[in-house]
């Protein structure tokens, strides 16, 4: 009984993780701007690898492998957003500007500025 429950939850986690990874990939292809693309990948890839790691943790009988997977999970949660931050900082430093305008700006303001 416990086995079936563990199997179902772990496959659920793995499926959610792969769906998130896929949607991050679609985001890279379809979003119009550098920053929106990076936001899509940064958020969804981190969560996707977290889900996949939790799904793998439920499959393992050994305690020491679970500890190793927990450590990998913590490292991923720490490193992946930092990498997105570094990427965004490098982009701003190199002068890539955003195409989508700031929130709250009306069309009249945009068209009156040359």
């Amino acid at each position: 009984m416990m086995d079936i429950f563990l199997n179902i939850t772990s496959s659920l986690f793995l499926l959610i993780g792969s769906f998130l990874c896929l949607s991050g990939g679609i985001g890279i292809l379809r979003f119009p701007d550098f920053f929106t693309r990076m936001h899509a990948v940064g958020v969804s890839d981190t969560l996707a690898s977290a889900m996949i790691l939790i799904g793998l943790m439920l499959q393992v009988p050994d305690a020491i492998v679970i500890v190793k997977l927990v450590i990998i999970l913590l490292m991923t949660l720490l490193i992946s957003p930092t990498a997105s931050h570094a990427l965004a900082k490098a982009a701003i430093h190199n002068g890539i500007t955003h195409k989508i305008g700031k929130t709250g700006e009306s069309d009249k303001e945009l068209s009156s500025n040359p």
């Binding site: 490292m75 720490l78 490193i79 930092t82 931050h85 570094a86 900082k89």
Partner: protein, 314 residues
């Protein structure tokens, strides 16, 4: 593809893919090394090189048909040559028949180390590994000879000021790096000493340790890194690694056995093997770390010097 930056990034991804391919082929030690070396250090060194040599390529002025013809002829000859080779994965192939069963069957009694790759690398074929360590050391010396920059005191002040002003802004990166670097070094030590029981060993540990030092240098600046890691200490460390490796062999000879026969190091042959493997992996780790750091620091020094000359000239 004209942009060399993109080319180098794709090469890094290619190395990572080949590392995952090695895992699928059951070669876990090799996959570990290829991932650390190919996707990590090699990409980094190429990026540092193109900051000096320029980022884009001149367009080709003629179509390289002769090159294409040579490549196609060579490729078809090679494919013709492989028609006699054993099938993929067959256990009757000649390479599985002669020396390998002896290594696989006798490794546990003679050496007592579960990882057969480590036992072959460090004990049965220790002389080859010695040659490899000397080659890495020679490459380090070669890069030193080509790219070493002698610093004059008045240049140091200007370069330090340039570096300090650039590195105060990156707060998040500094904090995360300060948190992560001890763990990376701890992992490197774990890989170094755990190489007997799982994938790992001296090379991977040396590269990971050097990667921690690269991370520190990139976030905190060359000036701080040069104060933290003394240049002469790193050069002495590289030489000490090779010396440690060689002296293990010489001590074995002095005790009456052959060169690199570790059973002469302790009263019990298996304990002698363990001690010998530990010492030489330590020597390998020291040399690999030191040489990687030497190469990176010299590339970065050269870049600083060329930037400094540009600023002086303009």
């Amino acid at each position: 593809m004209k942009d060399l930056f993109a080319v180098i990034m794709l090469t890094g991804i290619y190395s990572l893919l080949s590392a995952s391919f090695f895992v699928a082929m059951d070669a876990v030690d090799v996959a570990f090394t290829e991932a650390a070396v190919g996707a990590g250090v090699s990409t980094l060194l190429m990026l540092v090189a193109i900051t000096i040599t320029g980022r884009s390529e001149n367009p080709a002025r003629h179509k390289p048909f002769l090159a294409l013809a040579v490549v196609i002829v060579t490729g078809s000859l090679l494919i013709y040559g492989t028609l006699d080779m054993p099938h993929f994965g067959s256990s009757l192939a000649p390479i599985h028949q002669h020396v390998t069963p002896r290594y696989i069957n006798d490794s546990m009694q003679e050496i007592g180390v579960p990882n057969i790759v480590t036992s072959v690398l460090a004990s049965y074929r220790a002389f080859d590994t010695f040659g490899e360590v000397v080659v890495i050391f020679t490459a380090g010396i070669g890069v030193l000879a080509l790219l070493m920059v002698v610093r004059r005191p008045e240049d140091i002040e200007k370069i330090n000021f340039l570096n300090e002003s650039m590195h105060e802004k990156h707060l998040i990166l500094r904090i995360v790096t300060k948190t992560l670097i001890p763990f990376i070094m701890l992992f490197a030590l774990y890989v170094q000493f755990h190489g007997d029981f799982g994938p790992g060993g001296g090379f991977q540990a040396g590269v990971i340790f050097a990667a921690a030092i690269f991370l520190y240098t990139m976030v905190f600046g060359m000036a701080t890194a040069r104060r933290v890691i003394n240049q002469s200490f790193i050069r002495i460390l590289a030489a000490v690694g090779v010396l440690l490796y060689g002296s293990v062999g010489v001590v074995s000879m002095l005790n009456g056995k052959e060169f690199f026969d570790y059973s002469a190091l302790a009263s019990d042959p298996v304990a002698g093997q363990h001690l010998g493997i530990l010492l030489i992996e330590l020597g390998v780790g020291c040399t690999v770390t030191a040489v990687m750091v030497i190469i990176f620091f010299n590339f970065a020094d050269r870049k600083e010097k060329s930037q400094h000359n540009e600023n002086k000239g303009s």
